[in-house]
Symmetry: C2
Subunit: 385 residues, 2 copies
Amino acid sequence: MVTVPSAPRAASAGDLLQLLRDGEPRTKAEIAALTGLSRSTVAARIDALLASGFAMPAGEAASSGGRRPSRVAFSPLSRLVVGIDLGATHGVVALSDLAGTILAESAARLRITDGPESVLDWAVGETLELLADVGRDADDVLGVGIGVPGPVEHDTGRPVNPPIMPGWDRFDIPAFVRRRLPVTVLVDNDVNVLALGEQAMFWPDADDLVFVKVSTGIGAGVIMGGRLQRGARGSAGDLGHVRVPVTDGAHSPDLEAVASGPAIAASLDGSTSEDVIAAVRGGDARAAEAVRQAGRDVGEVLAGVVNLLNPSVIVIGGSITRAGEHLIAGVREVVYRRSIPLATQDLTIAPSRGGESAGALGAAIMAIDATLDAESVDAIVNGRF
Amino acid sequence: MVTVPSAPRAASAGDLLQLLRDGEPRTKAEIAALTGLSRSTVAARIDALLASGFAMPAGEAASSGGRRPSRVAFSPLSRLVVGIDLGATHGVVALSDLAGTILAESAARLRITDGPESVLDWAVGETLELLADVGRDADDVLGVGIGVPGPVEHDTGRPVNPPIMPGWDRFDIPAFVRRRLPVTVLVDNDVNVLALGEQAMFWPDADDLVFVKVSTGIGAGVIMGGRLQRGARGSAGDLGHVRVPVTDGAHSPDLEAVASGPAIAASLDGSTSEDVIAAVRGGDARAAEAVRQAGRDVGEVLAGVVNLLNPSVIVIGGSITRAGEHLIAGVREVVYRRSIPLATQDLTIAPSRGGESAGALGAAIMAIDATLDAESVDAIVNGRF
């Protein structure tokens, strides 16, 4: 289909807010000149944005004579969003302004296996406490983004057969959260929100980025053409069930069966990712080599991903990276050898640096993207005024 | 990075043309209401589009009294684009209007190995003849899209180490074509233009589509989120060098080494794809099974692609499909068994139906997308008037 790009549409208040979201203060005359809208239309829309708080006065511009024209600017603090990142054994709740700046954050150890009511009650409770800490209240919240450690039907926000989340299957997370925070709630798997967070923090110019999490499971967040790609049914990124090409042996295994934390642990007669990390940190050479081999296995699969998608950045995260450089060294060893030269020429393979904050930030960004578009802003502006 | 969507910009004539590209006739008053632009701005911009030919008068609207307001509409025939699809042994040249409707087409057997001057001279010559046939001339051409059977640096339009195109390495295709057709010239590999063409013809609603060509080589065109994804350096889609997971055997081969036309032929003591097709058509059961096994090998790699990208449609094309259903049967057999259920739930695996026209249409669409955006239209509108 021929792509029809960027058709101008009725320039609503919400549309003008998009223009202001770059943070630049502008006069109404400048906005009229930029958009071709009439002065009276611009004045009415900007007044609505000022009344709703999305825009704020931002001083005066120089005048060529007469009264100085006043400037308006985006007000990122006019509303807040909440980013929640839930892992198997941790949770992070972050308050963010509308520009993706984290204002307050709270982290705790928890067990996802305690089930949705208990875990989400904690997360909502933390949200309300953080709001109180920064002197805001629940009415200021525009949306909530949540990352969970399992597959999610993104349209409905329900986990689907999540292997390590007993009690969460098909649980209506948005409905539960909305009982206490009646706003837009978006849910995605933790790897996708990590990809969004890492990109925002460290790779804002990378349009084609693959984030790989190697932990209890193995998954990827795929950003292509500047956008997170979830695929037709939202299941994109399932790297753990991709089979590993082999050089010797009789059967290509699923990646997760050889390179996940439990798989590495099993090869060392341990049982968890923590056992592996402890062994490597304790100087166990056999454990270090097992992690490096897991990295090679991940690299065998990523070599195919690189040939298929030609990303500029691959970020390796997840708990196994806490065992040091062995994992990423194994990945690099294989990807640079196996992928075609044109695809690896400018390829960076980097460790995740965002830590636990990246997931919560990514979840907040998901909420901003979903609630600050022109239509959503118009609904608020028109509903209230 | 927080995505800032659809900021309104100076609504130029080119912007208003995007609005009209849906084909709907509109009055100036309707356009003013739709865009929020002043009547005088709309009048000036529409006059410019009428003068440049991109828009045309389209009758009168009903009136509530007084003079009937006149309508304007997009004029897809005001300019033309050229789509050229070059294969190893064939070439297709198509003239298309600005809505992607093919007006005239010419196909020929040729040898890509004759080198760029000879092949491109033929293509430009055919273009000029087709233009004469439809009573237009070279000044009406806005852009040329070209697909070639090898890797291309999309930004410069130069083939890069193309294995079956001796004499074409680093050849400046756009500069050569522009000597006789001084317009925008875009070059991409044949699989990407086939993906664009097949999507336009048969799958306009599929935002996530992978086109796979199994022929002398094996490659893919990856459409995700509604857009062709070329990756960071334009090399995305290199499926032929992805290794095949194996169930028995000591070494995972590259897909191309086992499933391309020459590889299948070699397993049958033949030498070309044509040998394979002839054998299968002649009822050779061993040849049919070899093609089916190639399909399984393609399926093994595609199972990983499905887990990673979760497309809604996979289209299988290329010369080997001319050997009947065996190839796609092998692909389906493995993909539905190996990929995760959520990813295959609504997955269609279909044979290519566009034939040789799809590539030329896809090349034309690439040219339209690159030359009919607001900025390019404005350059023409402002340059001439």
